[in-house]
């Protein structure tokens, strides 16, 4: 009788990496659609260019590392990285900004550390932070929400590609960019939240015109992934919980010293994208469920701290990178007990 020794794990997940990545890509669609409705075609041009550059750079890196590019491109991790960076960048970003961001994401943050599964930092967020500290002007110029444009005509799809490929730094007519709600809260520390809402139309109902749609879209996508068991609830809900808790504590009814209501924080900026698509990165976050919960809680707290007291209006990228640093530490202290051991 042949006794084959089979070691654990005995139960196999049916999902392969490429399936997981495709589901993640699919789940961004509601958010992307909402962003396109809110801010025009700029998000689409960002994503298309980012995917083109990301695929090319991944293939190039694989060829240089003497591995079959086709095989590694099929895990679609480069596609998801490109998608996330394209969403995070301000709409209508110039091609060279996207190329540089993808270079740092794919080559520096991912391949130099050993490729898929070895990167200690979230590649898309590395690319974003590199761009944010290098080109503060270009990176903080966000397109105005379409409903507030008035007479200004938003560019069509082809024209948007023209803007992106033209690469000019000032392609957009006056009045086409506007400060985001989080910007406004930062810059007007003398105004009460209610004054701000009266004075600036950008504030919409809870999260800011356009922003609440986009965040709602990403929330829907995230819930889909949760339902499909692509990831567990620990990291995303942890992040949303600590962000909501801190902003509620510091809201104090909307005085000029507050940083905006919890709803504003939850539905503005990159909150939902970060919670459902960034902190859930299986590679660069913690491994155990408890670790993931702590990872999410820490990321949410950092987001609020940087938004309120930091130098930048939004903070998801910085928060996630800082938490990536301590993910190994979280893993060390949250190691689950092995069955049968005390």
């Amino acid at each position: 009788m042949a006794l084959t020794r089979i070691t654990s794990p005995h139960a196999h997940a049916k999902q392969s990496t490429s399936q997981v990545m495709l589901w993640v890509a699919l789940a961004t669609l509601p958010g992307v659609a909402a962003m396109t409705l809110a801010f025009g075609w700029g998000t689409i041009t960002n994503i298309v260019l980012a995917i083109a550059f990301g695929t090319a750079l991944e293939a190039l890196a694989m060829a240089l590392r003497k591995r079959p590019p086709g095989f590694y491109l099929k895990d679609y991790s480069a596609l998801v990285t490109a998608l996330l960076l394209g969403i995070a960048l301000p709409p209508y970003s110039a091609w060279w900004i996207i190329l540089l961001g993808m270079f740092f994401a794919i080559i520096i943050a991912k391949q130099l550390y050993g490729g898929m599964g070895y990167n200690p930092f979230n590649p898309a967020m590395v690319g974003y932070v590199v761009l944010l500290i290098s080109f503060p002007v270009e990176m903080t110029r966000w397109a105005a929400p379409l409903p507030l444009l008035g007479e200004v005509q938003a560019p069509g799809l082809l024209q948007s590609f023209g803007i992106a490929i033209g690469g000019s730094t000032f392609p957009i007519v006056d009045g086409f960019t506007m400060a985001t709600p989080l910007d406004l809260v930062r810059q007007n520390s003398a105004l009460m939240i209610s004054d701000l809402k009266e004075e600036y139309a950008q504030f919409g109902s809870w999260g800011g015109t356009g922003w609440e749609w986009a965040n709602g879209g990403f929330l829907i996508g995230g819930l889909l992934l949760l339902y499909k068991r692509i990831y567990t609830w620990h990291a995303p809900l942890g992040m949303l919980f600590s962000l909501a808790l801190l902003s509620a504590i510091f809201y104090d009814g909307g005085s000029s010293a507050s940083a905006g209501s919890p709803l504003l924080h939850l539905f503005s900026g990159a909150t939902m994208l970060g919670a459902w698509f960034i902190v859930t990165d299986p590679v660069s976050s913690a491994v155990s469920n408890r670790g993931r919960l702590l990872f999410g809680l820490g990321a949410g707290a950092l987001v609020f701290i940087i938004r309120k007291w930091g130098n930048y209006p939004d903070a998801v990228a910085f928060a996630v990178l800082l938490m990536n640093f301590i993910a190994p530490l979280l893993d060390h202290y949250t190691q689950p007990r092995t069955y049968g051991h005390t």
Binding site: I108, V130, I133, S134, F135, P136, E138, T169
Partner: protein, 235 residues
Amino acid sequence: MAEYRELTVNGLWKNNPALVQLLGLCPLLGVTNSVVNAIGLGLATIFVLVASNSCVSLIRNVTPDEIRLPAFVMIIAAAVTCTELLMQAFAFQLYVILGIFLPLITTNCVILGRADGYARKNPLPAAAYDGLIMGIGFAIVLVLLGAARELLGTGGIFANMDLLFGPTASGWHWVVNENYPQFLLAVLPPGAFILTGLLIALKNVIDGRVEKMQAAKQAPIEHGSKRVRVTGTIS
């Protein structure tokens, strides 16, 4: 002569203070955001290294082992103070730009490392030569980093060279692209870390290639050898 050749190879390549020993990283990362800063700090470091190595070597037979480190530090600090005063006199603006990094040369581990590791055991000429060549090895890396960061960060190179070389050098500034958007990352400290890492990687790649080529050249098979070959390729 062989010793001097070994010193040269060690200082410039095999044991380069910046790329292999990873000493003196503080100024290496702190001031290499332009070529002129890098050259200024490089020259200052070379000067201090030669002076401190020479002095340490001269007093090597009268310094008790127990108090050698304080003595070396005093010598280095004196050399650094001289450098500072010289720079204040002849390149004042550069002195202002380099700021705290000039007095910090005192704590540069390359200098104490060479004093303790080489100069206190060797005669004056060898010690002075070691200081010179180690300093040059360090300065070359400084200038390479400075050039890369200035070019990537500002789109031009050799700006403000008149701070060091007099008014004639103000025309040396070469702008590659007028419309280059400032790439701040290269000028800020993270860029220094990333580029230093890439330089070290480049050196390791070159070393690996050279080793491979040498191994391919050798691989001798002795005539009548009975041992199974475990190296080389099977054809």
